[in-house]
């Protein structure tokens, strides 16, 4: 119990110190542009549609990322299992992978206009390939013994997929999902700066453009960090589920 609270204190210590340093630095330097932590808190509290912005951002990330999970995991399983498919798809994947999702932004705006679909599409692109690649590599690294045992018991290919390959790969998928969610969250903010007129990314760019409200710029940044942290913690919780816990033994 004492160790638990001690580790909590340890985790809070550096952020608290950073806040203090920030506050002192603003006061000492006498800057009028850069806000202090209190300015940021006040600015955010007075902002009328902050809740709606957060909701919009979360909605976009859940749609784009959700679609990437629903399509990326099966695609990764297929490509990982049938090596011919992997050979055929690999050049395309390798070509598309180094293109930053943000480079698609002009096209996304032409295709979808200023709407939710544009950032959703960009988030989808950003998270789809990491999910496919993580799943594919997972399938390739399933110990051949498991596959052999599955075949030995007379499993069809579909049964082998659902009863051996998928559960064996699931821990790696979970890790891949977590990493790709981080990417999706990064891309969301950038996409919202251009393709839409709501959301946390929009808040930052609008606060700067519309009135040099740097308290809201910094507030938006901090909100993005905090929400990202909370969501990552939620995804991390899935590592404790009994289907995958076996691979994350303490």
């Amino acid at each position: 119990m004492r160790r638990l609270s001690q580790s909590k204190i340890e985790r809070l210590l550096v952020p608290l110190f950073a806040l203090l340093l920030w506050h002192v630095a603003v006061k000492v330097s006498g800057t009028t542009i850069f806000p202090s932590p209190l300015d940021v808190a006040r600015g955010l509290r007075e902002l009328p549609h902050l809740g709606a912005y957060i909701r919009d951002s979360l909605f976009r990330v859940f749609c784009g990322y959700g679609a990437a999970v629903l399509l990326g995991v099966p695609a990764g399983l297929l490509v990982g299992w049938w090596s011919g498919l992997a050979r055929a798809a690999n050049p395309l994947i390798q070509l598309l992978r180094p293109i930053s999702p943000l480079a698609w932004m002009p096209l996304a705006v032409i295709w979808f206009g200023v709407s939710n679909m544009a950032p959703i599409f960009l988030i989808f692109l950003a998270s789809f390939f990491p999910i496919v690649v993580a799943t594919m590599n997972g399938v390739r690294n399933v110990p051949p013994m498991y596959v052999q045992a599955g075949r030995n018991f007379g499993l069809s290919t579909t049964a082998l997929m659902s009863r051996v390959i998928f559960p064996a790969v699931l821990p790696r998928i979970v890790v891949g999902l977590r990493i790709s969610f981080g990417v999706a969250w990064l891309v969301l903010v950038a996409a919202e700066m251009i393709a839409v007129d709501s959301g946390l990314g929009y808040l930052i760019i609008d606060a700067r453009n519309a009135g040099k409200r740097y308290d809201l710029v910094v507030g938006g940044m901090l909100l993005i960090g905090v929400i990202g942290l909370v969501l990552d913690g939620l995804i991390r919780r899935t590592e404790k589920l009994k289907f995958v816990k076996w691979a994350f033994s303490e």
Partner: protein
Amino acid sequence: MKVAFHQIGMSFGNVRVLEDINLEVRTGELVCILGPSGCGKSTLLNIVGGFIRQSEGSVAIDGEVVTGPDPRRIFVFQERGVFPWLTVEGNIGFGLFRETPEEKARRVAHYIRLVGLQGFEQSYPRELSGGMKQRLEVARALAVNPDVLYLDEPFGALDSITRLQMRRELLRIWMAERKTILFVTHDIEESVQLADRVVVLSARPGRVQRIVEVNIPHPRDLSDLRYIALRDQIFGEIGLAHQV
């Protein structure tokens, strides 16, 4: 006669692994395939298991040529073959998807008892010791009621005390269930302790160098003179094999 190897030859690329293997195994017999490492004994077991296709010759079981794996003949790996995402119950029931739920539950309970894993039904493999995992894998194999078991150095990763206990367990199970067993090992003592016959393979390319009958009833006394004589005879065979 249960299993018949007929002029099996095997090459991987330019490497000749097995040469002209002829062997017949009787129903209910426990045969050990013994040889120095790299002699192709595991390859031979994978061929009869249907996982690797031989270059020449054929294997027949009950007169039927082997073309692939078959749930009537189950391959047991070292303990790493159990599925880590399934509980003990889940693992034992894995191959029972064709059975009714009642039959499945009955067999799972039966084999948990047979291998002494009562109280661990809901445990995951990572919570079990090496010996328990190995017993679990044997139970998973037995649960589908195969006529033949292939064991590929199943006790190789266990410590020597556990290994000795596992041999005793295997013999007990074998006497209770009377399966035909093909057991690959590089451990001479192990082969003489377990087998009805020991098939000694030569160094690569593996040939059947000698087949030694072990006419000692179970349980075998390890200080029995016949045991020691047979063991030393096989030591001699393997020693010769090293000189070739």
